[in-house]
């Protein structure tokens, strides 16, 4: 079975400060990891993914994430947060030869001006 944990329900940061949203996973086999963002009353938007290769992946809107196999983590980061980054963020995982995407519970990010 595969699972994802997002240990923080909420993250609050000031605009211009670094933003980190944490994600850990549990799978049998090699993970494929994804981050999605959901703005109020909208669907999920794809941000970035790790499949293989470089552990640091870059995605949309200046976000990046680092895959750490030993810590089974895939934390989302942004060097300088914007008020417009305030949203609900989901980490998700699936494994090779599987189609189901398993999601974490989500982390609400609030960036204050």
């Amino acid at each position: 079975a595969q699972s994802v944990a997002q240990p923080e329900d909420q993250v609050n940061v000031a605009e211009g400060n670094p933003l980190t949203v944490k994600c850990t996973y549990s799978v049998s086999g090699n993970p494929y990891l994804f981050w999605y963002v959901q703005y109020p009353n909208r669907g999920l938007q794809f941000l970035l993914k790790y499949i293989t290769g470089d552990n640091l992946v870059k995605g949309s809107y200046g976000f990046e994430a680092e895959f750490n196999k030993s810590q089974t983590s895939f934390h989302l980061k942004k060097p300088s947060a914007l008020v417009s980054d305030s949203a609900l963020y989901f980490c998700a995982v699936r494994v090779a030869n599987d189609y189901k995407l398993s999601f974490g519970a989500g982390t609400t990010v609030t960036v204050r001006a």
């Binding site: 999605y36 669907g43 999920l44 189609y99 995407l101």
Partner: protein
């Protein structure tokens, strides 16, 4: 189309009525998913279609829920005799393929926001 299209975007229905939710996936995508997002439950897998293969219905919460995909493209999720606990956002998603390309991105629609009163 350019993205996954869902309709209706919002639906208010009376308890006991049937509802149909429609999804039009990205053109050329063979894999189609339905997920449900409700308060306190997170994102819940409902059903998966891949090409002409039999769908994976393992996530459907009860026999009041059914889904079909006609012609390998448009999908309809039907909820019969709706209950208040069915109130949620129903998200459709598609990807270029399923099992053998697990690295492919799954793209989501804007969702159908269902309220049962």
């Amino acid at each position: 189309g350019a993205g996954v299209s869902q309709s209706p975007s919002n639906k208010v229905t009376e308890k006991g009525k049937d509802v149909e939710l429609r999804c039009d996936p990205i053109s050329g995508h063979t894999a189609l998913y339905w997920y449900r997002q409700s308060l306190g439950q997170g994102l819940e897998f409902l059903i998966y279609f891949q090409g002409n293969s039999a769908p994976d219905k393992s996530g459907l919460p009860s026999d009041r829920f059914s889904a079909e995909r006609t012609g390998g493209s448009v999908s309809t999720l039907t909820i019969q005799r709706t209950q208040q606990e069915d109130s949620a956002v129903y998200l459709c998603a598609s990807s270029a393929s399923g099992t053998h390309s697990s690295g492919n991105t799954i793209y989501f629609g804007e969702g159908s926001w269902l309220t049962v009163v």
